[in-house]
């Protein structure tokens, strides 16, 4: 955590890569030099008083002197963020949280749902051996990553179906680690689709409503299978799948 910084980062480029999906590249050598795959930043959507909290976004990829974010415009905060133009300065705190645990073996299976797959580029850049599966509702929700196997619910790109259909005993058995990132329902479907014996390999990138993002408010708790909670912003966002209490997490209705 000692490398966390809070800086006004300049927007280098901004573009709409898919309908209502914005990619912004920021200048920040500080964050670029310390971020690890799976970490996130806290973005201040406006200089005014509202919204009163920041918005958490995963670091999608590093650039030479900064980093890239990719996000869905779903509400007021992301709407304001989507209006940033090159040259604008945006207050960003990061890198925050833990990332993917890279110590759990070298063969990876990556399973992404929709935009959740975007951050896998950063992870792939850090590991040598990976298989990448992407599921999405339609081509409007697929971020293109190298060497990926894509399915869409409407068949508009890749084969038609759900990403769980791509999960086979073979690719589960081949993997030392399985990274999952996507909407909660999709991640739960993956969890259910993975047989008990492989579940210890699952690493889940969780989401929660965040207040601070830097572990002081206790607002971002993810229900754990021991009955307690852990902080998404500090002990997460990546958790071993077996630690998560899926039922209580789903009840949160994020």
């Amino acid at each position: 955590m000692t490398s966390v910084v809070d800086f006004d980062c300049a927007v280098i480029s901004q573009e709409m890569v898919l309908p209502d999906v914005i990619k912004i590249v920021f200048h920040s050598p500080e964050i670029a030099s310390s971020a690890k795959p799976g970490q996130f930043v806290q973005v201040e959507p406006s200089k005014g008083l509202f919204p009163v909290t920041r918005r958490p976004v995963t670091i999608n990829r590093l650039t030479d002197d900064g980093f890239e974010l990719l996000f869905d415009v779903v509400g007021r905060g992301t709407e304001l963020m989507s209006q940033k133009q090159p040259g604008d300065k945006v207050r960003i705190l990061g890198p925050l949280g833990n990332g993917w645990d890279l110590t759990k073996g070298k063969k990876w299976l990556l399973i992404g749902g929709g935009l959740g797959a975007a951050g896998f580029q950063f992870l792939k850049d850090s590991i040598s051996d990976s298989v990448l599966l992407i599921g999405a509702s339609s081509k409007d929700r697929v971020v293109s990553l190298e060497n990926s196997i894509v399915v869409t619910e409407d068949g508009s790109v890749g084969s038609k179906g759900l990403v769980t259909a791509l999960i086979t005993e073979e690719n589960l058995a081949n993997a030392d680690s399985i990274a999952v990132c996507g909407p909660v329902v999709m991640m739960e479907a993956v969890w259910n689709a993975v047989p008990e014996k492989h579940r210890h390999k699952l690493q889940i990138s969780t989401e929660s409503r965040m207040g601070c993002g830097w572990a002081v408010c206790d607002g971002c708790s993810i229900p754990m299978s021991d009955g307690g909670y852990k902080k998404c912003c500090k002990e997460g966002p990546v958790f071993p799948g077996i630690e998560i209490d899926w039922k209580r997490w789903k009840e949160a209705g994020l």
């Binding site: 955590m1 009163v52 909290t53 007021r76 572990a215 002081v216 206790d218 229900p223 009955g227 307690g228």
Partner: protein
């Protein structure tokens, strides 16, 4: 008192360069800020609430941002007083400023029980007795509306500690001035005005509250005038210092609260957005005063 108010303060006999206190529940135990190195400009850290036994806290979502403010329903999540004493307070030894420990209880007795255990630590300056949490079923704000109960809680705490303590009041019912007086009669060395206002957000499409416990604590920069009024009322009625809590998002807000009668000023929600709020707010105040 002279105007504009002085930024440096004398409080509980100590000299402070800054009137800023980090509000309970929004600064952990200060140890995260230590690693982030953002305690510059901060006069006092108030810890998150500590209860006797560990409390898991409320089910998520614990936060919901409304168009103009923030609902929180943390539910006093904390690892319990013994864990705090043995594993967290030692980490706070390096804090560059004093620490107040926010104390919660489900019974009148629990407050002094918690304080008694904490007395074994040397690292903290005193306590903030939280009789006003809006987010729990037992105790919490139900205590804070009753002068007799607050008197007994304060009395109980006085018996087990010689350290100074503030009693944090609720704005959600009862007569704040009478409760403040009862707290002072019971031995309180300050009054914190006040805990969060009860708030709620209902999804009209479903009729459901977004928060599982239905009502929650609400904070917003727009609540500043409510806090100013209550600080003014209470500080005119009691002899001990008043610590304000609520509504600060700019240095000017702090100056206004000091002018209204606050001795120290807590900052909560703003800190969650701005880890370096202490230094930023001090800077804003110095610019205004230097004008």
């Amino acid at each position: 008192m002279s105007y504009p108010p002085s930024i440096s303060r004398k409080f509980w006999g100590l000299d402070f360069d800054s009137p800023i206190m980090l509000a309970s529940g929004t600064a952990g135990f200060g140890e995260e800020l230590l690693t982030l190195d953002c305690l510059s400009g901060v006069g006092v850290v108030v810890s998150k609430a500590v209860s006797f036994k560990p409390r898991a806290g409320n089910p998520p979502p614990r936060l919901f941002e409304t168009p103009l403010g923030l609902l929180n329903s943390i539910g006093l999540a904390n690892p319990g007083v013994h864990h705090v004493l043995n594993h967290i307070l030692p980490l706070t030894e390096k804090l560059p400023c004093p620490l107040l420990i926010n104390v919660a209880g489900e019974s009148i007795q629990e407050f002094s029980d918690v304080v008694e255990v904490l007395e074994q630590s040397k690292t903290h300056l005193g306590y903030e007795i939280n009789v006003s949490c809006p987010n729990v079923a037992d105790g919490g704000a139900a205590f804070g509306v009753d002068p007799d109960v607050v008197f007994q809680i304060a009395k109980g705490v006085s018996r087990v500690t010689d350290r100074p303590f503030s009693v944090k009041l609720t704005p959600n019912g009862g007569d704040m001035v009478m409760v403040a007086k009862a707290a002072v009669d019971g031995g309180a060395s300050a009054i914190t005005v006040c805990n969060t206002f009860l708030g709620m957000f209902v999804d009209w499409r479903t009729g459901k509250s977004v928060i599982k416990r239905k009502v929650a604590g609400y904070t917003s920069p727009a609540l500043l005038p409510l806090v100013v009024a209550r600080v003014w009322q209470v500080s005119n009625a009691v002899s001990v210092p008043v610590i304000s809590s609520g509504g600060v998002s700019h240095g000017e807000d702090i100056l206004q609260l000091l002018a209204a009668g606050a001795s120290m000023v807590q900052v909560g929600t703003r800190l969650m957005r701005r880890p370096f709020a202490g230094a930023e707010l001090m800077d804003e105040m110095q610019k205004l005063i230097g004008e």
